[in-house]
């Protein structure tokens, strides 16, 4: 059994909470005491139906205001897979939350109300999904029961969305006509849509192939922590020096020739250690400890790659940045802390090329700043070299966060487009 992480985007009106509630309920991930609590609260508020959004909207402020503020993580499992749902709010003022939820997602579900068709917010959600390089996208055309399960309406929406998506970097796009309320095509295929030849949503989630979404080609091992046992009484470990980290790309094997960055020196992997014994190969997302044949000066923040396949060693980055701070704005000359893989440095914003309208994709080249939830293309100068790949090639070596040095808050998320 493996794990699929998926993000859902949409508002309560689209039936998102109903859909999640149904997936959780039908997979028995909602428990009786949770359901009773939700029923009780719904009744107390005079709501006619059991409001399943109360299951996910856990904070007092969310319940009081009847809105989703933050990303909620929910869990369910079927015999085939474990699922982690990042349930994100759909409104534009919560773009940063959707970006956060999408950053680790294997798949995103965008809900569209069949009566309303492709709206501005559907286009925004699709754009953010493609910006964050979520490998699989499902467009769930919901409330099919309210358009008499019309094949014509479904195809109209599909064609309009496909035309829009062709302008984006969407890897794998699937359309499913559903009714979250009635359960059509959610868990099993519906008799109400005989013209639909695809699978149910849950079947798709259980079977979509994600193992090859990870980058298994470019070896990238950011050194996270140096392990040097200091047990004076254990002489066998006296000379042990291991480099611990989580594999960010490629497949490593003992005996492989590797290059250490920033030194550029090469050596070979002597062994790949774990608590459970040495392993014959390591690949994402394994956390392992490497030992090398030569004694090199290696510390946290360094990178292990292959001599003939190295990341860019760069101090100048071109990146798309999503700004996440209330109040503070990103402007040229802003000085920030940047955290990329296991390396932390300082960064100067040299230029803001344009701000992107996330609804129309229009580029405003006259923009002088990025405010909360705004996305733009930025040039950064970093105080020490980073070992980066294009975000499109590897999300782990192409993504970074920006931290404000005054408040210590995480104020931005960046995706590398180009580096030198």
């Amino acid at each position: 059994m493996d794990i699929l992480r998926f993000a859902t985007a949409g508002s309560v009106d689209d039936g998102k909470s109903t859909l999640i509630g149904r997936l959780l309920f039908d997979s028995k991930a909602i428990f009786e005491d949770q359901l009773e609590a939700v029923e009780r609260t719904s009744r107390d508020r005079g709501t006619e139906f059991t409001d399943l959004s109360l299951l996910t909207d856990g904070l007092r402020a969310e319940r009081e205001q009847g809105i989703t503020i933050d990303v909620a993580y929910r869990y369910f499992a079927t015999p085939k897979r474990k699922f982690i749902i990042a349930d994100t709010p759909g409104h534009i003022q919560y773009t940063r939350n959707m970006v956060t939820g999408a950053s680790t997602a294997d798949l995103a579900i965008i809900l569209i109300d069949a009566r309303k068709g492709v709206l501005e917010q559907s286009r925004r959600h699709a754009f953010l999904t493609s910006l964050l390089r979520v490998p699989h996208l499902v467009l769930a055309v919901n409330k099919m029961d309210l358009v008499d399960y019309s094949q014509e309406r479904f195809e109209e929406i599909r064609d309009e969305f496909t035309a829009f998506a062709s302008k984006l970097n969407v890897g794998d796009l699937t359309f499913i006509p559903i009714s979250a309320l009635n359960g059509d095509n959610v868990v099993s295929r519906s008799e109400n849509t005989p013209w639909y030849l695809g699978t149910s949503l849950l079947h798709h989630l259980e079977n979509v192939h994600i193992a090859s979404d990870r980058n298994l080609v470019d070896v990238r091992f950011p050194v996270q922590y140096v392990i040097r046992p200091q047990r004076a009484n254990d002489h066998a470990l006296h000379d042990y020096r291991g480099y611990a980290g989580q594999v960010a790309g490629g497949v490593l094997k003992p005996g492989d020739e590797v290059v250490h960055l920033p030194s550029g020196l090469t050596t070979r992997i002597a062994s790949i250690d774990t608590f459970d014994g040495p392993v014959e190969e390591a690949f994402p997302p394994m956390s392992v400890t490497l030992r090398f044949e030569d004694d090199l000066d290696i510390s946290r923040g360094d990178m292990i790659a292959r001599p003939n396949n190295q990341p860019q060693v760069a101090q100048d980055l071109e990146a798309m940045v999503c700004w996440m701070a209330d109040g503070l704005k990103l402007t040229p000359r802003s000085k920030l802390t940047i955290k990329h893989t296991t390396r932390t440095a300082r960064a100067l914003v040299r230029d803001l090329h344009y701000r992107l309208d996330v609804n129309t994709l229009h580029r405003d080249e006259d923009a002088t700043s990025l405010g909360l939830n705004e996305i733009g293309r930025v040039s950064l100068r970093v105080t020490q070299p980073l070992f980066v790949d294009d975000y499109a090639r590897n999300r782990l070596t192409g993504g970074f966060i920006l931290v404000d040095e005054a408040t210590n808050g995480t104020v931005g998320a960046g995706m590398v487009i180009d580096a030198h």
Binding site: D2, F31, S103, P229, G399
Partner: protein, 304 residues
């Protein structure tokens, strides 16, 4: 060429993620500690810590906030496991906080030291200048926890502000704090109760005996089975009876209920949990029943 399938099992993914989080903390903080209660989640967390730094020792101390109302079996387990690992254990005692006048003991039949723990915990964090504190909380436990970050920022009063949390993207965690502030770190955020048990089974990890079915004198209150113990105040209208029970969670005796169960092995527990229709906190924790936002309110004050 033979095509190799690089599918990774859910426990391996969760373990790799938790190890990554632990190493990140050890690398970026000066004085971390790991909250170890002897409960199953902190036991799993401790095993992850062993794995993360092997063959070196765990590079931080363990801390237990002892209410003085713990089960004997759990305290015995705590001390034995700590000794096996050669780890340093800091015990922060709620009784000491009471004796020093930092908190006032509740009175009445439902008196519990649950809420008093927060003061003891925060005082200990301040005294030892801990800047990162590992907790075994999981997001599937409770709806306020479902929204909490892996690196959860606490101000210098130890408070959590759910509306002002740092965005957390990819596997990048922001560890910047000022002196006096700290980060609660939850490496098991993405684990479910069933994952914890699957992992205990896979790893062959020992857990305290009270997790398994045993005969115990109990009484019923609010649909929960509370133990017969000196620290639990039982009314005359709450008769004792003998039952075969086990614990799904391990906490303070005064607010942790047992469930009727004959599950005597990890396999049988997994079978039971897979079939159950009630959450572990709903079944066994009076502390979460106080109000709909009970957990959020306690967390805001600095609770685990």
């Amino acid at each position: 060429m033979l095509q190799r399938d690089y599918t990774t099992s859910q426990l391996d993914v969760l373990e790799a993620e938790a190890i990554h989080i632990m190493r990140e903390v050890a690398a970026e903080f000066e004085r971390p500690c790991l909250l170890f209660s002897g409960g199953k989640d902190s036991i799993v967390m401790l095993r992850i810590a062993e794995k993360a730094f092997w063959p070196a020792a765990i590079p931080f101390p363990l801390m237990h906030v002892d209410t003085g109302h713990n089960f004997d079996e759990v305290i015995e387990f705590r001390d034995r496991r700590t000794a096996e690992l050669g780890a340093r254990l800091v015990v922060a005692s709620v009784q000491d906080s009471i004796d020093q006048g930092r908190v006032v003991e509740q009175t009445g039949r439902r008196a519990s030291r649950n809420r008093l723990q927060t003061t003891t915990l925060l005082d200990a964090i301040e005294e030892h200048e801990f800047d990162a504190v590992f907790g075994g909380a999981r997001r599937d436990e409770e709806k306020a926890r479902a929204k909490e970050r892996v690196f959860s920022f606490r101000d210098d009063f130890g408070q959590w502000d759910p509306k002002n949390q740092r965005p957390e993207l990819w596997n990048l965690y922001n560890s910047r704090i000022r002196k006096g502030e700290h980060i609660r770190v939850f490496p098991l955020s993405n684990w479910t109760e069933l994952d914890i048990w699957d992992y205990i089974r896979r790893e062959g990890i020992e857990i305290p005996s009270i997790y398994f079915a045993h005969t115990r004198k109990v009484f019923e209150r609010d649909g929960m089975l509370l133990p017969d113990a000196e620290v639990v105040r039982r009314g005359d209208d709450e008769p004792l009876f003998e039952a075969v029970v086990r614990y799904r969670t391990v906490g303070d005796m005064t607010c942790t209920g047992a469930v009727q169960s004959t599950a005597a092995t990890v396999e049988e527990i997994i079978e039971e949990i897979a079939a159950t229709r009630i959450t572990e906190r709903g079944a066994t924790r009076a502390d979460d029943r106080a109000s709909e936002a009970a957990m959020e309110d306690r967390k805001r004050e600095g609770y685990f």
